[in-house]
């Protein structure tokens, strides 16, 4: 079909016409989000290319805010007529019809934290297959007890344009490359797994030379190491959290509770506590969307705001929340560049980017030595939090017993449970060894998934509930 007004989402005049229609029923604010996502995925399953796929999907979402109310609609048609229809649908959240002139939009600011892919970056299919094969071979070479290995390579480029009725349009090209390795080890009827992943806003051509082998060996060693693991003890113990991966704790125990959508409704454990002590004085937590090339980094968020570096907790004192446009408006705050959405089909929400705890003053070995009997948790499969009360749970996939100040037996499948503010008040030592985990973390909230990163130094929690089978 020949379309008289084709829509590619980049023409400022067309964006202005859509915004005018979106505000035509009396909404206070409107924005248009245009997205095109190209993806390629390769799965090597025990040396066999099980799945090779590629595709492009896209669409345009229109949001209208009226007070605290949101109207949202989207279309996947590349026609101005369809986008105007979506704008009329979203506009119906308000009920005060009026004439609105087309909105003039001028180009807004964005950061420069990663580079848009260029044609020269593209790997040929045979180069991609060779890369995942290298990972596979490296994993198998670690130990004959590795009985299965799956390597997944994903490349994505997300092109977005956001135009807002405040008169700003901004676009961004967001690359993401991810490599995941999963190994199964088996011996005498015992079967264990090891997982490793790497992900960043970088092109395949920018990968470190030995990254596929490094990730594969890491996954394989974890699987083999877990063969000797025994069930974890149950009860309250001192727990030493290893650096980097343990940042999952910050994400679950602190970050979610500081997302302002929960706080503007007074529903978070942390609501109304700005300026109050919510953690040990050793604890500082920062959400940082500005780490160049990092998985959680953003030149602009999905509402067109420049990404930020937000200090959430400073030396134990609560300093601020993570905002999107709606929560910032309602709470009278500035947007923090944390308005994110999974795709054009979704409304934005306050979300984390890279969530970090900076290094402290303790030697990591001294931290281990300080524990008579406890658990050293190194890697994590994921976590979950109940925001109203702050209770969280997270699963360690690599953990060890600490006995007499030394790391001893490996422990199998350890679950840690606690309450965010209580546990953060029991941080008694913070290591000098800050590490960042680029392990392809995905954060789920309200059915929407967005890529994030976490990082922290080695940390001692004086007491945490460990749930093992023993």
């Amino acid at each position: 079909m020949l379309e008289r007004h084709p829509w590619d989402g980049t023409d400022p005049a067309a964006l202005g016409r859509v915004l005018a229609v979106a505000l035509g029923r009396g909404g206070d604010l409107a924005d248009v989000f245009v997205e095109e996502r190209s993806e390629a995925r390769l799965v090597l399953d025990d040396g066999i290319v099980r799945s090779a796929s590629a595709g492009t999907v896209g669409g345009t979402g229109v949001r209208v805010l009226s007070g605290e109310r949101t109207g949202y609609a989207f279309t996947e048609e590349r026609a101005e007529r369809a986008v105007l229809d979506a704008a009329r649908t979203a506009a119906a959240i308000a009920d005060d019809p009026r004439d609105v002139a087309p909105v003039r939009v001028t180009r807004g600011r964005r950061r420069d934290l990663y580079r848009a892919p260029e044609p020269g970056d593209a790997y040929s299919p045979s180069q991609r297959i060779a890369l995942v094969r290298r990972a596979y071979e490296a994993a198998r070479a670690v130990d004959p007890r590795i009985v299965h290995c799956v390597v997944t390579l994903e490349e994505q480029v997300r092109r977005i344009t956001i135009a807002s009725s405040v008169g700003v349009v901004v676009d961004d090209v967001q690359p993401m490359t991810s490599l995941r390795v999963r190994c199964v080890a088996e011996e005498g009827g015992v079967r264990t797994t090891g997982n490793a992943a790497w992900s960043a806003r970088r092109a395949l051509a920018d990968l470190d030379a030995t990254l596929p082998e490094d990730e594969a060996r890491s996954a394989a060693l974890q699987a083999v190491g877990n063969l000797a693991a025994r069930p974890a003890p149950s009860g309250a113990f001192p727990v030493v959290l290893g650096n980097a991966w343990s940042g999952v704790l910050l994400h679950e125990a602190v970050g979610h509770g500081l997302e302002a959508d929960f706080n503007r409704k007074g529903l978070s454990r942390y609501s109304g506590q700005i300026g109050e002590r919510v953690a040990s004085p050793l604890v500082t937590v920062i959400d940082d969307g500005t780490r160049a090339g990092s998985r959680g980094s953003l030149n602009v968020d999905d509402e067109g705001h420049v990404s930020g570096r937000s200090v959430l907790i400073e030396n134990g004192i609560l300093r601020g929340y993570l905002h999107d446009r709606l929560s910032a408006r309602v709470m009278g705050a500035e947007p923090t560049g944390n308005g994110r959405r999974e795709s054009y089909a979704c409304v934005p929400m306050p979300r984390m980017t890279d969530t970090l705890m900076p290094a402290g003053g303790h030697d990591p070995e001294e931290i281990i030595r300080s524990v008579e009997r406890g658990v050293y948790a190194v890697r994590f499969g994921g976590g979950q939090v109940e925001i109203g009360k702050g209770d969280f749970v997270f699963a360690a996939t690599e953990a060890y017993l600490i006995e007499g100040g030394r790391v001893t037996a490996p422990l199998r499948d350890v679950t840690l449970i606690g309450n965010g503010p209580e546990v953060m008040s029991r941080v008694t030592m913070v290591g000098t060894d800050f590490g960042f985990s680029d392990s392809a973390w995905m954060c789920g909230k309200d059915g929407q998934s967005v890529p994030v990163g976490v990082g922290m130094p080695t940390v001692k929690i004086s007491s945490l509930t460990v749930g093992g089978g023993a």
Partner: protein, 447 residues
């Protein structure tokens, strides 16, 4: 252009571009949802999505390409891309369409479409959500609401392949969900939620019942204690038993078997669990959201017993996993437009026992009744199982105070053997159903 034409055009274009076989799927989703909080409509969303996926085979090499531009030219272009990917991919001896004899659709009316549940008229959903929240808020001790949501939609799945299969199926779904906070005597605040979902609007629980249940669950959490640590009898509520059944379904997948990713990998034909345990994958049930006449690659649907009286009777398999694991497809291919088919259940049902749950509980002098599990501590390969939980303490056969802030852990092998009794209260949640279960062999840890 209709969905039929698009998938046919894609398959024809793949063959014309040199594919030896191909299939194409079109997935169409339409619907609306609303959020209401404190009686005010907080959000209205409408959605309408399309996706076309083409899978092309060049001998035993396979390529997949997809788009959400739906027109004949895009279909042909996507088909050519799929062939181009297949041509440069590597040989996979297990790749291919299902066996031709398995292709077809079950010829019974599954009654999976209700225009009322698919409605884009948001007034219906606003009414449901408003009533559900109001019912919850009317209960004593409910002082704060996180809000209610309701919505509905329709998904249509059209599939064609080069072996002559061509069919479409649709399913509608309506849902209502409420989350509220109860305030306890000491000012403590406890959150809980309740929900229902159904294929037909007429089968959806009344919004008032859903709201009152959310309130009841939040209130009964107040005054919670930590449970004693140690090995105690554990009772799973039907919702938690569905979570457990889902874990078993994943452990019985042929895809996990060939990847050595399940503790049951060598257990076909073996008795691994209590005689009280039977589990089916059943796409043939009328008016259930997982019901389907054919699976994601056109294999005729059928009921598959996975566990019978504790014995592993079949793996759950799609065509590919079946070839890798050395079994037959059970018509369990799940399929989205943007990837390869994957093994996935239709509806899964953990069979009910004979005694009502109150009688089952009455036999337990002291133990833990689990109403909620959270966290990701399930390792299918090793069988280790360790979760955060919330629930109620059982004393002399009765439910007493709430318990929270504990983990419950064990090994799936021990848990399967340790199912002491299955109650008669089979309860549906979406496409899964399970009754109350009593298990031995779990350890509770509350610090």
């Amino acid at each position: 252009m209709s969905g039929d034409d698009v998938v046919d055009a894609a398959v024809a274009a793949a063959l014309a571009a040199g594919a030896s076989a191909a299939d194409a799927v079109l997935v169409e989703d339409d619907g609306a949802s609303v959020a209401v909080r404190d009686g005010v409509v907080e959000r209205v969303e409408r959605h309408g999505s399309r996706g076309l996926g083409v899978r092309a085979f060049c001998g035993t090499r396979v390529g997949i390409a997809y788009t959400n531009t739906i027109d004949p030219e895009a279909a042909r272009r996507t088909a050519r891309e799929a062939v181009a990917i297949a041509e440069i991919s590597a040989e996979d001896p297990a790749a291919g369409l299902p066996e031709t004899a398995e292709l077809g659709a079950l010829e019974i009316d599954l009654d999976t479409v209700d225009p009322g549940a698919a409605g884009r008229d948001v007034a219906v959903w606003i009414d449901l959500a408003t009533r559900a929240e109001a019912a919850a808020r009317a209960e004593p001790r409910i002082e704060r609401s996180e809000g209610a949501r309701a919505g509905g939609g329709r998904r249509t799945f059209t599939l064609a392949n080069s072996a002559g299969f061509h069919d479409a199926r649709a399913v509608t779904s309506a849902h209502v969900h409420v989350a509220v906070f109860a305030t306890g005597d000491g000012g403590e605040r406890q959150r809980d939620l309740w929900f229902d979902a159904a294929v037909h609007l007429a089968d959806l629980a009344s919004p008032e019942d859903v709201g009152r249940e959310a309130a009841r669950r939040a209130v009964r959490r107040c005054g919670f204690r930590k449970p004693p640590s140690g090995a105690v009898p554990v009772v799973f509520s039907p919702l938690v038993a569905c979570d457990f059944a889902g874990t078993l379904v994943a452990a019985l997948s042929a895809a996990a078997v060939y990847a050595r990713g399940t503790f049951l990998a060598d257990a076909l034909g073996e008795t691994v669990g209590s005689a009280a345990l039977s589990l089916d994958d059943d796409p043939t049930l009328p008016r259930r959201s997982g019901s389907r006449a054919f699976d994601g690659e056109g294999v005729r649907a059928r009921r598959t017993p996975l566990l019978e009286a504790g014995r592993v009777t079949s793996w759950l398999a799609d065509a590919y996993a079946a070839r890798r694991a050395g079994c037959a497809s059970t018509g369990a291919a799940g399929r989205s437009f943007d990837g390869a088919p994957r093994v996935g259940p239709s509806n899964f049902v953990l069979a009910a026992g004979s005694r009502p749950p109150a009688d089952v509980l009455a036999d337990i002098p002291s133990g833990l009744y689990v109403t909620e599990l959270f966290g990701m501590g399930v390792n299918l390969a090793s069988g280790a199982w360790s979760r955060g939980g919330a629930g109620l303490w059982i004393e002399r056969g009765e439910l007493t105070h709430a318990v929270q802030e504990f983990t419950v852990a064990g090994d799936l092998r021990t848990m399967l053997r340790g199912v002491r009794e299955v109650a008669s209260d089979l309860t549906w949640f979406g496409r899964s159903a399970a009754p109350t279960l009593v298990l031995d062999g779990l350890t509770v840890s509350a610090g």
